[in-house]
Symmetry: C2
Subunit: 213 residues, 2 copies
Amino acid sequence: MKTKESKIPEATIKRLSTYINCLERLQAENNPVTSSEMLGESCQVSPAQIRKDLSYFGEFGVRGVGYDTKKLEGEIKEILGLNHNWPTTVVGVGKLGQALLNFAFFSKHGFRIIAAFDSDENKIGNEIAHGVTILPTTEIEKTVKNEKITIGIITTPADSAQEVADKLVAGGIKGLLNFAPIKVKVPEIITLRNVSITSELDNLAYLLTQKKR
Amino acid sequence: MKTKESKIPEATIKRLSTYINCLERLQAENNPVTSSEMLGESCQVSPAQIRKDLSYFGEFGVRGVGYDTKKLEGEIKEILGLNHNWPTTVVGVGKLGQALLNFAFFSKHGFRIIAAFDSDENKIGNEIAHGVTILPTTEIEKTVKNEKITIGIITTPADSAQEVADKLVAGGIKGLLNFAPIKVKVPEIITLRNVSITSELDNLAYLLTQKKR
DNA sequence: GCAACAATGTGATAACTCTCACAGGATCGT
DNA sequence: ACGATCCTGTGAGAGTTATCACATTGTTGC
Ligand SMILES: NC(=O)c1ccc[n+]([C@@H]2O[C@H](COP(=O)([O-])OP(=O)(O)OC[C@H]3O[C@@H](n4cnc5c(N)ncnc54)[C@H](O)[C@@H]3O)[C@@H](O)[C@H]2O)c1
Ligand SMILES: NC(=O)c1ccc[n+]([C@@H]2O[C@H](COP(=O)([O-])OP(=O)(O)OC[C@H]3O[C@@H](n4cnc5c(N)ncnc54)[C@H](O)[C@@H]3O)[C@@H](O)[C@H]2O)c1
């Protein structure tokens, strides 16, 4: 896979992720081959945008024909690094944490849930999917280190997020996905993404307010 | 196609939403006044970006001083339309739907959960927060119409999302937030946002893969 | 009252992202 | 074998968003 060293738009990465979904659907609908137009129709992105996005990483189609859906899905997963096996942990097994843990998506995209942590004594010891039990937060550093966990998902309340992040970092975590509504601070080497589900709702409210005018 | 009048970056709206969080935190930490620098530090946005974002909507600060945290929070909520009272419904009360329903954020941002729907007979009739019981999906159109519900949140599996969206639209919904990993199609007048939580994880995997090189 | 200071608001500019149009390569029918 | 047709890949340009620099304006101390 050749990666041209020009900078790749973040929006492109986000779209690549959605292309995977659409390609799966197209396969399920018996399309061994698709065009940028068909794929664009399926995921509501312009055909030109799709071709440009892919062109950052190489040539995956056949001119005059289109893309092999299965192969392209594999290529995109390779680009995104989803063919690795990412040892992952979730800290804060509340409502949102449980929703995430339950989600079949994980295994399909190469994320393997190795451990889960919570500070609630009543939850500790409970078994969640795949023979993983909830551990106390005192075990975070040790477990992350021993199991070589690379990705940490934070779904604790906001006022615990920084403390949890620190523990994960101490254990040697590589990447963090933070769902708590606070920007946690971590060393430069850590890859951090703050996810704000709620801003989507706010955004919707804004758009609706605009339309009224 | 429309909204030619407003050339406000989508990214700006997203940031405004995070500013609210940060302003709340600053208030909790006894800062009646803040500067764009302090706020920027708090939510990891450059001071210039914050000032530019706000400048699209007016002048909210005092030169040489800064911003009144409480007042600015109110102004941003006004801009985003969060001071309205948005009658809202959730369709698909599974893991994710429950996580959302439980979330205190709603009332604070002006979203009022009026109804919830599910196709699972075992769930119908169950009471969720605030005296709202889960209704069968056959009631969607009628309820949306009668209760004047304006915002619909879709948290069903992907293969039900379009059908659910159609019912909500038939009832006269104004805005839709779709969490299912499929792009639903709705008439132009409906404001639609597709939310992809999973793409954040994919994105993290990508960033980690890049760093290895 | 005024100078020194602090932090906003904004035009100019740089950086980034998307769109368009078409050249280039592949396939098919005759 | 070759022209017609199809769809990709991409450079150039348009459009959008972020950054910078500073003029502006309110505050404080003397
Ligand atoms: N629920 C949603 O839809 C939603 C949406 C967006 C963001 N969020 C954010 O996600 C986070 C979790 O939300 P939730 O609804 O699941 O809340 P929740 O209260 O259901 O779950 C929080 C969990 O974290 C655990 N916890 C608390 N302190 C901890 C600590 N120091 N270490 C480890 N675990 C700890 C609690 O025991 C609990 O199990 C919150 O920050 C919330 O703002 C939630
Ligand atoms: N759980 C997550 O963390 C997560 C993250 C991102 C996206 N999603 C997406 O959100 C959706 C829900 O995820 P989940 O984990 O809550 O799944 P879930 O299976 O726990 O919940 C789905 C719910 O929808 C109901 N349902 C099914 N068909 C319906 C219909 N036609 N009308 C009304 N209700 C119907 C089911 O009875 C169930 O209660 C899925 O599309 C999933 O891909 C989930």
